[in-house]
Symmetry: D2
């Protein structure tokens, strides 16, 4: 199988290269980049020296379907809206890692992204690629809107409880923390090492564009549509997201119900792990892997649950989940191309 990656020089693209070079069903990668076309990926990123050395191709939506059998698009949000439709119209299967096709309501997209939404036809057809929750739809989709990193962590932690109606959804507060790679490969002030190192930054409180994405999915599985409180922090580490989530349980819900719900959920899904013995997960427990680890604590004093989920933002939060979805779409084993173990320490 020949697979293409648009936006190969970003962090999502680079991680796709790492995974797909190790994928047993992929023969050849073709890398696309508008900003770096003609250059070679291993000159820009010497860690790929001897591994992937092809020239970066210009992005031409009419040529791509002639060159590859499947496309991952990891361009910045806003690019996919115009780039992907001509490719999709030619029948190609696509996984888009950007935000363009995730929000079903065009008004919501405009409000949070301050951009024009893509063609409604493809927004409608795009399947939200939260692998564990839309498994069947993903398997039959032509087009996947791969979830954002924060929504992946938050939803994998919350949906099991929301789906079973265990939480008062009007009380959900999500305090999310991310490593700096979440800010992308382009240098900026907040990611300048002397500022980011030995520092904890908070940003975009109640303004992050991942808020409507989380709400859209929560609402699908809950009986009422309530807004959430969501804040995001920049932690001085390269990879990893921790989502600390607070909510009141509904009257009468017991710790045992929560335990059973999470246990069953973890048993059913290859990449979901429940921290043993009421432990709490650390981001390093999943680094470099596609796992989402979940832990929780119930406080009888406040009737609140504190749930914690961790992922590697570039893996389960981006490229790893994309490859998982690729496997589902193609009938490959779910774990194909995905590392057997996190990198630790």
């Amino acid at each position: 199988m020949n697979v293409g990656i648009v936006g190969a020089t970003g962090f999502g693209g680079l991680e796709l290269v790492r995974l797909l070079k190790n994928h047993p069903r992929i023969k050849k990668l073709t890398l696309y980049s508008s900003s770096k076309k003609g250059d070679s990926i291993d000159r820009i990123y010497p860690h790929l020296n001897g591994i992937e050395e092809g020239k970066l191709e210009d992005i031409d939506p009419y040529n791509i379907p002639k060159q590859v059998d499947f496309l991952f698009s990891s361009a910045p949000t806003g690019v996919s809206a115009s780039l992907l439709p001509p490719i999709l119209e030619q029948g190609m299967k696509v996984i888009d890692l950007a935000g363009d096709y995730r929000l079903k309501e065009s008004e919501t997209y405009k409000q949070w992204y301050q951009k024009e939404p893509p063609d409604a036809k493809w927004v409608d057809r795009a399947v939200y690629g939260l692998s564990e929750w839309n498994t069947d739809q993903i398997a039959h989709a032509q087009m996947i809107a791969n979830p954002g990193c924060y929504p992946t962590a938050a939803l994998l932690g919350l949906l099991p409880l929301v789906n079973k109606r265990l939480l008062d959804v009007s009380t959900i507060i999500i305090d999310a923390k991310s490593g700096v790679s979440g800010a992308g490969a382009v240098p900026s002030v907040s990611s300048h090492f002397p500022f980011a190192n030995d520092n904890l930054q908070i940003y975009k409180v109640n303004k992050h564009q991942h808020i409507p994405e989380i709400e859209q999915m929560l609402h699908q599985y809950s009986e009422t549509n309530k807004p959430i409180t969501f804040s995001t922090h920049l932690v001085p580490m390269t990879r990893g997201i921790m989502s600390t989530m607070y909510a009141k349980v509904k009257d009468g819900v017991s710790a045992m119900e929560i335990e059973e719900t999470y246990t069953e959920y973890a048993e059913q899904h290859e990449f979901i792990r429940l921290s043993p013995a009421h432990g709490l997960p650390s981001t390093k427990h999943v680094m470099g892997s596609n796992y989402c680890d979940i832990g929780w604590s119930f406080d009888p004093r406040t009737q609140r649950i504190t749930a914690v989920s961790v992922i590697d933002n570039l893996m389960k939060g981006a490229a790893g989940q994309a490859v998982h979805n690729f496997n589902l779409m193609n009938g490959f084993p779910e774990t194909a191309g995905l590392p057997a173990s996190p990198v630790f320490p």
Copy 2:
């Protein structure tokens, strides 16, 4: 003035040495350590080479009042309970940086610390040294229970609003994050560099001994006694605490009232700063200083405020606040011995 420091080889003690060597009213330091007595501080900590070179004295509560005019005690919690009463009985003024004398209810202390509480007489007389809130009492106290690092950050952020009855206190959730120096100078697994670096850990959810300390003070300034939800995270940085706090505002409370409350509060206190232009503070903005920076955001969708406070855990969260209290107790200028500026970057 001759000043003594018990537990000088811990991080609180070391930071006291740094500050007091620079204090215009202090002539001499005497350092006490039971575990390292006879050794010299600069051999253990070479950064003090040429700065403070005296031998570490053994801790003898009957000798200390003969040797020094004022005592800072930075021994681990549990030691002060037996160590300090004989010193206090001799009339010496003491600031205790440990947890022993902070909680007024002995049952609460037993429950959260799993230790026997100190003599009730001195617990009663101890003034909780939150400098901005107990200023007058501190000025006239013989004995200060210096606040914990997490409570300092949380209370400085919450009390202005709680005191003005702007919050529904039953909805308070505190998501606290600390640098690893908060865990002390003794190596442990969770602070071993290969585990702590590039990692985010969450610990003691709803179980941290700082919970009753925060609640005790919140209850003093609010109309009802409600338990809080509190979680703590270990961030891969050396210093710094960020406290991200969530609460519903009471019906009818406006963003302008919050702004005015915080503005007035910051104007009245030397070491409280309000982030300008609705910015949000980073821990690095206060590193090495005694400042507490506060920012906030109000979300009309949820009627929740997200307030953020940052401190240097070893400064405002320990030694800096202790020196501030020392100044208040002795009628010195509030800023004496405290750095004029954070260290940045």
Copy 3:
């Protein structure tokens, strides 16, 4: 194939677990630990939850050959001397990651390790497992003394030039830098996060036990036996070694000869990469992989070459090289079980 790992809870052992779980020829791992016997590896290291969950077996040299077909020993130096001979006498193939069997001269071992050397019989038979330089011997060995992390980086950078007689070996100076995982999994003062973070430490100057190991191998490939100057630094990162090496070139040696030597060397070896276009390698270029990247610069003003090699200390410097040797010993493809790409960023 059933494979055993002694000392599975150390960093070398953990990395072996990561690699061998992904090795196509290995059916089962048996993990041994004297200190943690009876416990399960995934309870101690939750990143292995769901991946490797067996109980840790006690280390019994007479039982091990009945339980496994091949043994990796990653116990601390000094343990292998007594542990391995009874296992080897039963004909089992063993790769030892400790220092015990690396030095051929027992007096040298005593002097640098301050320990009694192992039985000379097995020291003599042990093949020094520098994969690229002892390839044939490794393929036919019963017992491999896997190289130390610093020697691997230094030797892979120096031997090509030394072997071609391009350097004045009496001028070799090696300035080595390591990430903190090189200090092992047991917490210590110098690896306590508040001390190691944002800090650069230098240690064991001219005293490191890896000095005689480097010299032994250099002398084998050079015409004279000269002592080297060697210093080691602790860098605030988890993984990675950089070896910066200085030497005078012999009279008349040109930059082109050096370039040709390195180019040919890199072309012949799967895991050796020459930095393109006279670039210089960073440790992150090889993180999580078995690569050794090499760069260099020749200064005509001083007639000195500065050569730089980088490895992941837990991979090429320990477990990765061990798996490479395991593949050579068993006739498997050299890359079996080894990741196709570094983890970046």
Copy 4:
């Protein structure tokens, strides 16, 4: 005294603000910036909120002498060449933290900086501000060329031995390591957190513009002019430089002579400290302070000394040394405005 700082928004400028706000002889700071004129420093750098809030003034060399009594210039190298002469001609005393006026030979400057050198008149008059070595000249200078960060660390470590003719200067190799703040406040690829974190980078081997600066000063104190070998590494920490220096001692030189030389040197200078008991210094021992700590080891096998010096690159390597020089020029106590103790941990 009213003092001006040109280039106040760079790291050198910011550190000057921190120090000078604490200087007992300075009444007022005036901050200049061409790129940020009109903005206020505390809006760009919130750590200065409430500490230094003035508007950034445009840089006008004809106005500056009317506004301030003394000028620190911390503009990028190349700017001072044209900016400072008109100011100097008006008789103002200036300390320049850039590289423009450090090299006495204009050809050398052109070759290493690839820029036009400043007016020879002021290059001649500029005193190289290595505080401990040019103390008297500094005291009487109108204009100081403040040393580079790497040269400061290397020279303070080498000059005592070179000056006493203890070293074979033709064998000097300097392996220097710096924290990322050395690269300045402007974001770049190599200082982008995801690339710089958990990584060790080497750069500009034998090409760094600090080489001729080191050589110029070494040659002044040695009997022969020999080129040095010099390499620079980027360490994942914010502040700190370690200079590891290798050289053969001259025939007959003993370890005792080295010890005596360093001991005497440290005793004579306020900010030079010799690591006690043959210890070796870490960069964190001097963080936030103006100290240079020195340690060393002599290897009788190779007759080489390994000397190690550490500084805080923004302090002794820039602003701290500048303030020290300012004190010398004005007859103030050497330590005025300089912190009594490093910040540790």
